[in-house]
Each structure stands twice: as C-alpha cells, then as structure tokens.
Symmetry: C2
Subunit: 357 residues, 2 copies
C-alpha cells in the first residue's frame, strides 16, 4: 500500500487520457469522474480501472474522440448517442442535459446508448444538487448476476444512485449496486483469500457458496436479498428495471448482451443494441414545492434518522452519503492509498504510454 | 375459507363506499382499485382492508367527499392535495395527470399529499400501459420498519411498482415492498402460528427473531437485505427514497410521523405534513424511441430471461407480473377465496351499514 496525493493521481489520469487522443476538455472531465471514486472510497471504480479502460481503447472498443449527440428529444426527455466513447464523458454530458430540461419543464430524463463504463453512479447524480434538483443515475453493466432460480449470469451489478439536497445538513447521497454485495467488496475478499458471507454468490451450478472465487470460477453474484426467502426476486426486479431504462429505452445492449468490461472477452457477435446504456434524471425541487421548505423538511428527516434509538452504542444509523463524504475529506487532505498491484498497473501504463506517473 | 365472485365483492365495496357518502364515480373507482388486489392475489390489500378504511372514516380520518386539487404544477410535474380522501381515489387521479403530462412533454411526475392508503401500488403503475408509457407508483406507509442498526420503527414497507409495456409478451409489472418480506406475508404466518425465516424481522430490542408475532410485540420488519452483511442498508435506502419522493416532495408526513393505518392508534399530535404521500410517474416510450422498437426489444428481453438456464427443473425464472396475471385470470373465472375472519368483518360491516353483502 502506498499513498498518493489526489492531485498527482488526477494529473496522471488526465495526461493518459490526453495521450490516447481525448480532447483536453473531455480528459479533464473523465479524470475528475474517475478520481471522485478514489476520493469517496469506492476504490474499485477509480484509478484501479485505468488499465481496464486502456485495454479497451487498445482493442478499439473505446473511441477517444467521441462526438456526443442527441438523437431524439422532447421537452423532458432525450436519448444521447455516446459514440463508443468513455462513459466518464457521456455521463456528465447527459446529466447536464437532464438538468437543463428540469430547469425548463420541471424534470429531465436522459437515456444513453453506445457508451462504456461511467465510473461511480453517484458522481453523476450529485451533479444535480447544485441546481437544487434531485439527481438520479443508473447504468447497466457486464453480466455477473444470476436472476433468482437461474444459474446463468444475465445482469450486471446495475447500480442506482439518488442524490437529494438538504438545507443545513449535507445532502442524502445513495449509491448502491442492486446485488447483495458490490463486486468491489468481493474482490477485496478474493485478494485477502477470505470467504464471503452466504447470500453473496453462488457457484456455477447455482449452489450457495462462500468461496470468494465463486464468480471467477463461473458462478454468479446474487441479487439483493440473496435467496427467494429473503427477497432476491426484488433485487432481480431492481437490476432488471435499471437494465430496461438504461438500455431497452436507449437502444443499448441489455441483459447478457452487455459487452464485458474486460478486454480479453469479446462482445457478443450478435448484439441487440449499441454499447452499454445509462439512464439519468433530474427533478427540480421547486417544480413541486419551494426549495427552502423542502430543504427544511429534509433537515428534519435526516436529523430524526441520524438520532434514531439504536440496538447498540457502537453502530448509529448511517445517512446515505455520510461515510463517502468523510472519506473524501480525509483523502483530499491525507492522500489516496493504492494497493501494490494497482501501483504496478499505473507504472506499467506510465512506461507503455510515456506519461509521467 | 369461502369463495365469492368478483362481481359480488366489488358490488359490496362499491355500495359501502356510496353509503358513507362517496360520489358514485369515486366509489366505482375505489372499489375497482381495491378489488384488483383480491384478483391479483395480494389478499392483504383487498376487501380485507375494508374494515380498516371504514374505521378510519368513523374516526373522521377519511373524508368520503374529497375535492382533489392540483396545488402546484409545471409542464412535467404536479402536486395534488388528496383532501384527506381515500388514496384509492387520489391515486388514479394523480396517475391520469402524470400520463397527460407525459403525452405533452414526454414524462409526467405527480406527488400527492394529504392522502390515505392507496391499495396496491401496481394498479396505479399499470394504468400507464394503455398509453404506451412506463408507469411508476410508490407510497409511504405507517412506520413498521427499522433502519439498519436502529431499534425504532421509522419507515413503512414503502412499496415501489414499475409497469413496462411489451409487444407480444405480457407487460413487465413489478410491485414490491422495500422490506425483505411484505407485512401481508408475515400476517399469513401469524394466522398459521408458524415462524418466519431469519432476516424478516427483529424483536423490540432489535435482536433477530423468528417469531411472526415480533412486529405486533414492538419489534420491526427489516429492510430488504435483512442485515448489514446482506445489504439491509440498501433496503433502507430504497424505503427512504420512496418516503422522500412521496412525502417530503409533496408536503405529506414522512418517516415516523406517517399516520397509522389502524384506527385505534392516533396520528402524531405534531405532524410534519398532511396525511400520507404518494409519488407517480409516467414515461412515454416514444419520447425515447419508437414504441414498436422498444416493445420488440422488451419481447426479446422477457423471452431471454423466461428461458434462462435454471438451477433445477421445478423453478423457472419468474418475469415480474406473471404470477399475479395468472392469479387474476383464475379468480375472475373461479372466484376469490376469503378467510373466515375477513368474511366475518364484511358481514359485520353489512349489518352496521345496512348494505347487502
């Protein structure tokens, strides 16, 4: 483990994106989205993914100079073609459009097709906060998850993020995979060679397993709930709705057709759409009630839940977004710790692309 | 258990609503929403609730002659004041408005305050299907659910329904409580004196319990996920988002302030809003892409998931809405079975209100 400053890592990501041909403007934005994951403690989605993005670029599966375009729109909706570029760039473009529409007609909803991985869902949702909007962000992803009763991987971990402004209190920012546990958490156990709780995954025959290697060995992550008795059909519903809004509505690939993030697996030769899909929403608060009234009530809501009577003295009720905000404050000041294998990846990218690390 | 025809039960509910002063138009609609629960097999939300509604009416907590009004709107949004009437009436009113707005500007989003219980979430979401819209419906409810780490009941079972049109295939209709198990399922175990799976509820000290009486004895239902290791913070997030969109956005009561459904418990003397809240959405498909294209792809999606390789021969992957649709076909033909205590309730209402059962 080595600690790097935020500025140094962001500069490296930025220079790397410029090196492969991104415009300066897009590279700045992509690096910012990427680094927000490292800052917020979602280590699996930050610079640890740079190698993955670059390998896809090398396979010509990521276009470094996408021309983003609106291919259809109404006053409150739009479909954006990501032109096979970085989702890190298509995401903010689409979210800005959603916010613009919310300013005009109360809400804005933008579906994106022909995109790639867009970093953490929460970054995009949080863009809405400054405009006094509720922000919503979701994306489909490479199939790793088996529906209830299935032994096939047909869905991604398809996250949902919702960011809601408050007044004196910090905003409510939820960002969750629709599985029992995010793949990033499983990867941590894999590296430590530890076992996973029952309910996180199944083996390739669909049987419960605690082996953290289960997914690598042909098994699957389980939808939130884990099994039927504990509501896994609801996790399946959530992942399905994310898939349909992100991809069936936009014209992207869905379900098992979503292209794999890893470059050593080829996309399905008979796609049902273009690239992967995202879905964004912005809801202007004062399209419902005065923003000040809403924020006062959000403060009451947050305080009441934060101060709930708890089962023990140690664990308080966690308001969504609190842990990530504390982590960001800490890491901006003290730096971002990277695992040795991530450092090695970045060093190897530095040599390969002649970009100073 | 006795079986009654759909027509007979619907006529009884209709006559009862008229007897307490509902307009004929509102009574027809309320009876239809209520009975859709019995048809679809959600027995806890159908005529079994009539006694509950009537007791609230007797306590003057339900206004039989509400004047529904739009108190604020933009091209894609509105807030409706339910005037303390039946949610069974406010729901369809608000959903029609959402669909109208979707026709005009692509999507429509309507928050409702000052309402009461609105029946099954799915009825309202499904209203959008005929208009080639995706329908969304959610509501907050009396506090029965403890957030992760809390021993207080601060949230309702806050359901979410999403209805999505398909082509040759029947629509995708999800309707789920944001708890591990809906309260209705627990009530079935209570009646049978059976124990519940771990992860469904906790006792009044916040400890896991399998006693189905746990909630009655001061315990709480658990958010989807069950415990922190299995993602209960995500169920807490979902229930919170439903609460905030339904009530903080509309001006209804939220969290622990939501008035109890049972008439023997009084509402909080210091409310933070008016009545309970709902939130509805309609997304016009062709505000994104031609409806025929979308529906073709939904057919592919549904067929692929329905035919997924399964773990065993018995359990196939269930497309949301399939079991309820089959139940409705069956019960329209063969009638609706009612438990003896429900029949007794209806007979006693029949005598009290001089309405033929």
């Amino acid at each position: 483990m080595t600690i790097y400053s935020f500025d140094r890592l962001q500069q490296f990501a930025l220079n790397l994106f410029i090196k492969i041909g991104c415009s300066r403007k897009q590279a700045i934005e992509a690096a910012q989205v990427l680094l927000s994951a490292d800052l917020r403690g979602v280590d699996s989605h930050g610079v640890a993914r740079l190698m993955g993005y670059l390998r896809l670029y090398e396979k010509k599966r990521i276009n470094p100079q996408p021309k983003l375009s609106v291919i259809h729109e109404t006053p409150s909706t739009a479909v954006v073609d990501g032109d096979a570029g970085l989702g890190l760039v298509a995401g903010p473009y689409a979210m800005r459009l959603a916010i613009e529409k919310a300013k005009n007609v109360g809400t804005g909803w933008v579906a994106v097709k022909n995109s790639n991985h867009y970093g953490i869902a929460g970054y995009h949702a949080m863009m809405a906060l400054k405009a006094d909007c509720i922000g919503i962000s979701m994306t489909n992803a490479s199939p790793l998850v088996a529906p209830t009763y299935a032994k096939e991987r047909l869905l991604g971990t398809n996250p949902i993020s919702v960011a809601i402004p408050a007044g004196e209190e910090p905003p409510f920012v939820a960002d969750m995979a629709t599985t029992t546990a995010a793949n990033g958490k499983l990867e941590i156990l894999q590296r430590k060679n530890e076992s996973a709780p029952l309910g996180w995954l199944q083996d390739k025959e669909g049987q419960p397993t605690q082996s953290a290697q289960g997914v690598v060995e042909g098994g699957a992550l389980l939808p939130l709930g884990g099994d039927r008795d504990h509501g896994s059909h609801k996790g399946f519903i959530l992942a399905s709705v994310v898939d349909i809004l992100s991809a069936v509505l936009s014209g992207a690939n869905y379900g098992p057709w979503v292209p794999p993030f890893v470059s050593f697996l080829d996309p399905n030769p008979n796609p049902v759409g273009e690239g992967i899909g995202h879905f964004f929403g912005a809801i202007r608060i004062d399209a419902f009630r005065p923003a000040s009234e809403f924020k006062n009530n959000m403060d009451i809501w947050i305080k009441r839940f934060r101060n709930a009577k708890t089962i023990n003295e140690i664990n308080k009720v966690i308001i969504p977004g609190d842990p990530e905000r504390h982590m960001e404050q800490l890491r901006r000041k003290e730096g971002i710790p990277l695992l040795n294998n991530v450092v090695k990846d970045l060093q190897s990218l530095s040599e390969q692309y002649h970009v100073k690390f």
